[in-house]
Symmetry: C2
Subunit: 195 residues, 2 copies
């Protein structure tokens, strides 16, 4: 299994975390982010969206953090990290949707603007980010984990950009349950640092 | 099964399409979009994100089009619309990620600005939309369907906002394979009109 990534990418950090927690060995293919290797051939042949991560296994290629998480969870995690029963799978999936929406174009983009790796409307992005954090806080006030009462890929998908949301101007001080959940994830066996 | 929706919502149209194609009966709970019923209590209890669709079944609630599609496909579609084998599921999932990204904050938001239901940077959104359409065109040039050589929830998730992308200033003239795929979806048994 080979993971195309950059060291700092939060989206590539998602499969890296799951692979580490499941203790699955893999090769890292590091892209040259400052030189925009992810926006050029031959990488665009692997992922025409021009983004990391891309996962390669058994001669097949999957782009995007959602596909990577789903593949790893199904192949190596049994029913634990992504169950196949309809209600349980849907419960996990709704949080992957939050990760791809308010957390992505909210928290991630706000951070991108503040870190000067993206242009755009900071206030608009921070507004979406606040919605995302409020939804998480509402859930985590009475739950240890986002879905199914245990760690799943729902937590892995939402965690990376929430953990650095202060870099987008939105510290977790007003979201104490979210802050506690971040610490719970970082205490899980196999957890690794982003950089 | 009950689907909370508005008549015009493209995201609610996704589970509506799948339910129609699978011939599954369900109740429609229509929200008053002009009066922003989806942004107020009691709806926010069902979905704190303040969006449709929400699916209710067996006393449980799932928000978002991804969770709804996954739930319906797993409960009523066997292995056909969303298989559980790792490689096949990941292949489907990468297109659901495109639907939640370039198609959503590209095509859907550009259309939202032009239809005056959203503010924001039209050119930025159209740029993302072009990436999304190019990725689809690249895939569909040599494939009838987005994943697995057959209709899956990958097609259902991407179709609604692609089919109306001209309303966001991006007609499909330059994307002939995408235009042909839209027609193929509309010829599938059980296909229903959005409005």
């Amino acid at each position: 299994m080979k993971l195309y990534m950059t060291e700092r990418s939060g989206n590539a950090y998602k499969p890296r975390l799951l692979l580490a927690m499941l203790n699955v060995p893999y090769d890292k293919a590091m892209l040259d982010f400052p030189n925009k290797e992810h926006k050029k051939e031959p990488f665009l042949k692997l992922n025409p969206r021009g983004q990391v991560p891309v996962l390669e296994d058994g001669g097949r290629v999957y782009w995007g953090s959602t596909a990577a998480l789903v593949y790893i969870a199904r192949k190596h995690g049994g029913e634990k990290w992504l169950p196949t029963e309809p209600a349980a799978m849907a419960e996990v999936m709704q949080w992957l949707e939050l990760a791809q929406n308010e957390i992505h174009y909210g928290l991630q983009w706000a951070r991108g603007v503040m870190n000067k790796i993206k242009t755009g409307n900071l206030e608009e992005y921070q507004g979406y980010g606040r919605t995302g954090l409020s939804v998480l806080e509402g859930r985590l006030k009475n739950n240890q984990w986002l879905a199914l009462g245990r760690p799943t890929i729902a937590d892995i998908a939402c965690y990376p950009y929430v953990a650095v949301s202060h870099e987008g101007g939105q510290p977790l001080d007003s979201y104490p349950s979210v802050a506690a959940w971040v610490k719970r994830i970082e205490a899980l066996p196999g957890w690794v640092k982003r950089v």
